[in-house]
Symmetry: C2
Subunit: 118 residues, 2 copies
């Protein structure tokens, strides 16, 4: 690995996962060094599950895998962006995106003001 993330005091960084073809933000999860290394080695989006305290290959049980197309680091190296080809739903609720499952807290303007991107 050429650039190293600035791992937090738990050895983690947040990971934003985005659909590479639509731009939709699918989920936010976490990676430790092992999860990032495994992602880079396999091309399959891999995370650290904070609840289960274990490496989590997305879709390993559900089949809703994420084929990596690109991993980017942000300017201060404390966040990752996984751009993926998503199979099926990203969210455990069955929603395409986890942000379709939690609700809209606030909205300004109507949907007609959107260019109807994600």
């Amino acid at each position: 690995m050429t650039a190293n993330p600035a791992w937090d005091d738990r050895g983690l960084v947040p990971v934003i996962t985005q659909d590479v073809s639509t731009g939709e933000v699918l989920m936010l999860a976490w990676a430790n060094a092992d999860a990032l290394e495994q992602s880079m080695a396999t091309g399959q989006a891999t995370y650290w599950s904070r609840s289960r305290q274990e490496i989590w290959v997305k879709g390993a049980t559900s089949g809703n895998t994420q084929k990596l197309r690109r991993i980017k680091l942000d300017c201060d190296a404390d966040a990752l962006l996984y751009q993926v080809e998503q199979t099926g739903a990203a969210c455990h609720t069955g929603a395409r995106s986890c942000f379709d499952a939690g609700g809209v807290l606030a909205q300004w303007g109507g949907a007609q003001d959107d260019e109807e991107k994600p």
Copy 2:
């Protein structure tokens, strides 16, 4: 506020900020309850600066403001998505997105395989 984020042990949640018209992921930052409340009241993307330990109205000094269009919560309520109209650069480096400033850690396939979305 109808739904409440599940604040972490520091009273924060990560916030993904996305350009509402292009879908581009611009940055990852953090919010506490005050930052979220102020965002909802003003329609201007507001964060908690962990380095400065203060409320941070995006663009207050740079002029590169973010007009909020939508705030979404994820399925387990521990991440926020701000969809914004970005003025100028989102990144302090001058890059449009913070994820253009940190480097590509890995890539699979060529750019020609992209549908050239964000």
